[in-house]
């Protein structure tokens, strides 16, 4: 079996050398680009809408607080009293996405047998998450 090595597409640029956008590339260029160490657009807060379960979708974004604690990144939803953690912001967001999806599916499947506290949680979660209609 033959193997092929994919070429490295990037080139090394000496420190301090500027770069110019190549607008002749075949795909639509981006509308804008900002470069450099940028401040986060909403420090500590993220509107979350990344659903990892293809059966589900978000009705509206979940407001999250994102912060660092003991070397880990925490993404926490005060409204749903849930959190995710990871080594980076995206890891933490991925973690809470899985938590919310698994919790919603579990509560939905057990909806007839839930106690009061879990019924409340299911109601709160249902304000954000729903099953996707079959296409």
């Amino acid at each position: 079996m033959e193997t092929y090595e994919t070429k490295v597409f990037a080139s090394v640029l000496p420190v301090g050398q500027s770069v110019q956008p190549d607008l002749n590339r075949p795909v639509r260029p981006v509308a804008y680009i900002q470069v450099g160490w940028l401040p986060p657009p909403m420090p500590g807060k993220v509107l979350f809408g990344a659903m990892p379960d293809r059966r589900l979708r978000f009705r509206r974004p979940v407001p999250l607080q994102v912060y660092e604690e003991d070397g880990s990144i925490i993404a926490r939803s005060p409204e749903l009293d849930e959190f995710g953690c990871g080594t980076s912001v995206a890891d933490a967001l991925q973690d809470i996405g899985k938590t919310l999806a698994e919790e919603y599916v579990f509560l939905h499947e057990q909806a007839d047998q839930l106690g009061e506290a879990l019924r409340d949680q299911y109601r709160r979660l249902s304000e954000f998450v729903e099953y996707r209609p079959r296409q």
């Binding site: 190549d22 795909v27 509308a31 680009i33 940028l38 809408g49 980076s88």
Partner: protein
């Protein structure tokens, strides 16, 4: 508020070719690692995302974040896009101008639609070793 799009796929590649007429996209050289002997390293690349559940007006934004320090280094975005069919698909096929990756490590390309976080893909900038076999 607009519907929240669901991500089907996000990919980075060397180049995106769009066939005129059919509007079909070909992604050439899909990669997740960037091998370079030294940094900073500069590369232009294609960013592709396929979404569904979108309906309304959207501006999409991608932030490239140096994950080791959780620092955004680059931000780019689209013009306003109008989506009418929620059951259909939206494809973002963007040609990203040269971006400088200042250090070795992991970079997250975080996709936002109307400031709502939708998902991410990563690029690892690594030094090649004798066992490296190019971009993966």
């Amino acid at each position: 508020m607009e519907a929240i799009p669901s991500v089907i796929a996000i990919l980075t590649c060397e180049k995106i070719i769009i066939e005129q007429g059919s509007n079909k996209k070909s992604l050439i050289g899909v990669f997740g690692q960037l091998l370079t002997p030294q940094v900073p390293v500069v590369g232009s690349f294609g960013f592709y995302a396929r979404l569904t559940d979108a309906e309304g007006d959207y501006t999409f934004k991608v932030e490239i974040v140096y994950a080791n320090e959780n620092k955004p280094i680059v931000r780019f975005g689209t013009e306003l896009l109008q989506v009418t069919d929620r059951l259909g698909f939206v494809e973002l096929a963007l040609s990203v101008p040269p971006v400088s990756f200042p250090s070795f490590g992991r970079y997250e390309l975080q996709l936002y639609g109307n400031e709502v976080y939708l998902g991410h893909v990563t690029i690892d900038v690594i030094q090649p070793t004798e066992t490296s076999h190019g971009n993966v």
